[in-house]
């Protein structure tokens, strides 16, 4: 009997931790949705949502409730169980990268030796979900969206890996908290010319990897209706949106930890929480820049997208990696 009780208590603590992380994923996606709509309005010289709550602050929670309450309309031509699996597969792993993210010296769930590889492995799995969604929808728009998503994600995973490897060469570790600790005196992006180039490559490739404008070709609403998630309604569509915002935030957290010194910063008047607050300030600043790019640049053509990765980003990242390796050995 005692073992059963202790198993339930152990299970409860695991479930509680999972609930906290998933709750953060939901809150973060809601907040980013609001920020995005508000900023988009400002960039287009509008004021954005104003009606629901103070300055429209309740707009996104209300939209979320609407999505949950909506009927799921499933077209008769979709391909069986995979159609239902795809949104779950997009949403479920999205919370995993937060396990190894070093938010502060003491706030990290899992101090994994290969933390950086773990984050990349989880992010790469999103491609499969997007493909399954587009393919199982069984219509031409979604199929083209899925084809584009797969080609785009394969092409942009390489520059992401190569640019992050530059910093791994400089620190000699895949451990994210170790990478942050090394940057105590100066951030990598200020310290090393190779790291600046690596960050630029990473930033462009990360925008493409999360399928955001100007690289949002898998969903390109003016050409493909809504691309891979055309046939999804209600919360199934909502899951894709939450996954997109979460991966956006994960990429910004990764850039913060790897290039911008993670939790290091001048002391703030919040005591022990100031390091954690610094991390979030940096991450959300990067999110702001990503949103800024989205509403500033027009969408690229597909051949331009492929050329950018294979002819520019990959050679630059590869050369940068070799030069950095040479410099660190000399």
């Amino acid at each position: 009997m005692d073992t059963i009780i202790s198993i339930t208590s152990a299970f409860t603590s695991v479930a509680l931790a999972a609930a906290v992380i998933v709750g953060f994923v939901f809150v973060n996606a809601t907040a980013l949705g609001y920020i995005e709509r508000k900023l988009c309005g400002r960039f287009q010289r509008r004021i954005g949502p104003m009606e629901v709550g103070w300055h429209g602050i309740l707009q996104m929670p209300v939209d979320g409730i609407k999505l949950i309450a909506k009927q799921l309309i499933v077209p008769s031509h979709v391909a069986g169980p995979l159609f239902y699996v795809a949104p779950v597969l997009a949403f479920a792993p999205a919370a995993l990268p937060f396990l190894v993210m070093p938010f502060a010296p003491r706030i990290q769930v899992l101090a994994m030796e290969a933390g950086l590889v773990f984050v990349l492995a989880v992010i790469s799995f999103n491609t499969f979900a997007v493909f399954l969604a587009g393919w199982s929808s069984n219509n031409n728009y979604s199929m083209i969206g899925a084809l584009r998503a797969v080609a785009q994600n394969i092409s942009y995973e390489i520059p992401i890996l190569l640019s992050l490897l530059t910093v791994v060469f400089l620190t000699g570790s895949f451990n994210l908290s170790r990478i942050v600790q090394v940057q105590e005196s100066l951030w990598f992006v200020l310290r090393h010319p190779g790291a600046i180039l690596a960050f630029l490559v990473f930033f462009i490739a990360a925008i493409a990897e999360t399928n955001r404008a100007p690289f949002d070709l898998p969903e390109a609403e003016s050409e493909l209706t809504a691309g891979f998630h055309t046939e999804y309604s209600g919360i199934a569509f909502g899951m894709f949106m939450i996954a997109e915002y979460t991966y956006l935030f994960v990429n910004c957290c990764l850039a913060t930890a790897v290039f911008f010194g993670g939790w290091w910063g001048p002391t703030l008047p919040f005591g022990q929480y100031s390091s954690c607050i610094w991390f979030f300030i940096k991450a959300y600043t990067l999110v702001f820049i990503v949103i800024w790019c989205r509403w500033t640049f027009p969408r690229v053509r597909f051949d331009q997208l492929m050329n950018l990765s294979w002819k520019y980003l990959i050679p630059i990242a590869l050369g940068n990696l070799l030069l950095t390796a040479l410099c660190t050995k000399l």
């Binding site: 073992t3 030796e113 290969a114 990349l120 069984n138 899925a146």
Partner: protein
């Protein structure tokens, strides 16, 4: 810690079921994309076993390369050839059987002999030896195997280019 151990064992048996179920789906599925999904599930299950064997790094690599990259390549191949509801005719009684049987036999004998020589006792955890150690071993102890694999990949790449290039010329004619 024993309660966590029980949870870990339950997860371990779930992993076994998941891996075998994925493999069965991969072999028996009549819609080709379901076979690819089954294979992806098996890859993820094997990645879970690497965690239990004490090497998270290998597990990450398994997810990144097999579940991430190789599955996507397979998906690309099937996506171009088949529509979502097309059912592939399995020709079990054809020459496929004559080819499949020896292949299964050879790999089966090799695997069984490996299991028999190793014994079915408790598996020893190799421990997380560290990524730097893996790198050193690959480039010092096992450098010949490492280089041979890279050579194999190079040959495969050149071969793919030759096949595709020849195709284009033939189409032009």
């Amino acid at each position: 810690m024993s309660e966590y151990r029980i949870i870990a064992e339950v997860v371990f048996y779930l992993l076994i079921v998941l891996t075998v179920a994925g493999a069965v789906l991969a072999v028996t599925a009549r819609i080709l994309i379901h076979a690819v999904v089954g294979l992806a599930v098996t890859f993820l299950g094997v990645a879970g076993f690497y965690v239990y064997l004490g090497s998270p790094f290998l597990s990450m690599m398994q997810i990144l390369i097999y579940a991430g990259a190789i599955t996507i390549v397979l998906v690309f191949g099937t996506m171009i050839g088949y529509t979502p509801r097309q059912i592939v005719e399995t020709k079990i009684r054809d020459k496929n059987l004559r080819l499949a049987l020896p292949a299964c036999l050879v790999s089966g004998v090799v695997l069984c002999s490996a299991v028999v020589t190793a014994g079915l006792g408790t598996m020893r955890q190799s421990g997380d030896t560290g990524i730097a150690d893996i790198g050193k071993r690959l480039l010092y102890e096992f450098s010949l195997a490492f280089e041979l694999i890279s050579l194999l990949l190079l040959i495969a790449m050149v071969g793919a280019m030759v096949i595709v290039g020849g195709q284009e010329e033939r189409d032009a004619e």
